[in-house]
């Protein structure tokens, strides 16, 4: 529990250090860096879902102003990707679909963009397990759950041309603290913590 509290405070300090490290000289940027109006970014990464899952996503960012963005984030996660059978328990399927919208703010350097956003939406988690131990009766269980999804995202883009590199870190804020202040619930947050890399494209 102490470790989790230290982790939460460290993440906020890290976020603050990123924001305070960026300089903003808007006049210079107008000449050297054209802020795109609309971008789309494909991402491929991992989440910490129990024993690690694989995530694919698409993020669309509409920059209304230099410091204000509207974001749409859509993802599919293939959970429990690397341990589908354990002690005669088979994972038949296990996936998460998520759709979130949010607002963000961006900071710019010569070739890079740093975007911090708050996202809110829903996620649908569905999984099925079968106990298939030859000594006992076969038992199958399936769960489908729709829940809110809140979180903070840090999105780094690198490149000035039509295509650019990006990576994203997503820090869920559900179930802790939006559903409950019980710090034990952070294991649910960590199951959806994700890190992705990918290629983006300027649409406008």
């Amino acid at each position: 529990m102490k470790t989790i509290k230290i982790l939460i405070v460290s993440i906020f300090i890290l976020t603050y250090s990123f924001t305070s490290g960026q300089s903003d000289s808007s006049q210079i940027f107008k000449k050297q860096f054209l802020i795109p109006k609309l971008t789309t970014e494909l991402g491929l990464g991992i989440n910490a879902s129990q024993i690690t899952g694989v995530v694919i996503s698409d993020l669309v960012q509409w920059n209304l102003k230099k410091r204000l963005s509207i974001i749409s984030y859509t993802s599919y996660a293939y959970n429990n990707a690397f341990l589908r059978t354990f002690n005669y328990i088979e994972t038949n399927y296990n996936y998460t679909l998520s759709q979130k919208f949010g607002i963000g703010t961006s900071f710019y350097s010569k070739k890079s963009t740093y975007t911090f956003s708050f996202l809110a939406g829903v996620k649908y988690e569905s999984f099925k397990e079968t106990l298939n131990n030859p000594k006992f009766e076969k038992v199958t269980v399936s769960v489908s759950s729709l829940s809110p999804d809140f979180g903070l995202m840090y999105n780094f883009k690198r490149g000035q041309k039509k295509y650019f590199f990006n990576y994203k870190i997503y820090l869920p804020l559900y179930p802790y603290p939006f559903k409950t202040f019980d710090i034990n619930a952070v294991d649910g947050n960590m199951a959806n913590f994700s890190l992705e890399f990918g290629i983006g494209m300027r649409l406008k």
Partner: protein, 262 residues
């Protein structure tokens, strides 16, 4: 960042544990002659505790150091809600690593010390509670509560020590352990155990999707539901929560089930 500080402080303080009334808490250690473990025991007494004239039901909590305060507080409030007498809350600390004390067989994840640990509870701890704290001596007045490996031990107490406890609160039990050995124990001991009255609550997080929890949980639940005529059993999947996050909400559900149906 300065504007975030009050929010951060609120998060930290809201997450802090509340201690049970120290005036109602007794603490001592038992050095077990069974397995050599030195167990720290905390006892939460009910309000208006009167050992001279009353005997009390007792709930035995595994992972005691972590769970004592929360369970003691909830026992007090829930028993008040139902207008029913509160119980002695007995938390059992660690004598050895929990992966040793709470596991029934030796496997890669555990050391198989559960049999001796249960003998310690049965022959050393429970008699002490009965002699010194006026714990009721009947099987139906004893409850055992455990989570994760503690839930596994609670299930093991059901299958192999069913004459000791009459009430079981199994939370996210690790029934997957050692290729579901608990299902074998249940089969082996079903015949004598099905003669007893049982009150059983089984709780789990809805999103415990690691590929090891829900199917064995359901298998054990179906076994108990279908094969024990004297059982009163309830199952609960706590929505939107995982293994650790579902523990406290399921403690509340389990205690409500016990106090309502005792």
């Amino acid at each position: 960042m300065k504007n975030l500080m009050p929010f951060l402080l609120l998060l930290v303080f809201a997450s802090c544990k509340k201690e049970y009334d120290l005036k109602l808490t007794k603490e001592f250690s038992i050095l077990s002659s069974i397995n050599g473990g030195n167990y720290n025991i905390k006892v939460g007494l009910p309000d208006n505790y009167d050992p001279a004239t009353k005997n009390y039901a007792a709930i035995y909590i595994l992972d005691g150091e972590e769970n004592f305060d929360y369970v003691a507080e909830k026992c007090k409030s829930i028993s008040n809600d139902y207008g029913t007498p509160n119980v002695l809350v007995v938390s059992i600390g660690y004598g050895f690593d929990r992966a040793f004390d709470y596991t029934p067989t030796k496997a890669s994840e555990g050391g198989g010390g559960a049999e001796k640990f249960m003998e310690f509870i049965k022959t050393e701890l429970i008699p002490k509670m009965e002699q010194e704290f006026a714990a009721d001596t009947s099987r139906n007045s004893r409850i055992i509560l455990g989570h994760s490996f503690g839930g596994l031990l609670t299930a093991y107490a059901f299958t192999n020590y069913n004459n000791v406890f009459g009430n079981y609160i199994m939370l996210s039990p690790s029934i997957w352990y050692d290729n579901e050995i608990l299902l074998q124990f249940e089969q082996d001991n079903r015949s004598p155990n099905k003669q007893n009255q049982q009150l059983v609550f089984m709780g789990i997080g809805e999103l415990e999707s690691a590929g090891r929890m829900l199917a064995p949980f359901e298998a054990f639940y179906q076994r108990l539901k279908n094969n024990y005529p004297g059982i009163k059993i309830s199952k609960h999947l706590e929505p939107h929560l995982n293994h650790v996050g579902s523990k406290n909400p399921n403690i509340i559900e389990g205690l409500n089930f016990y106090f309502k149906n005792r």
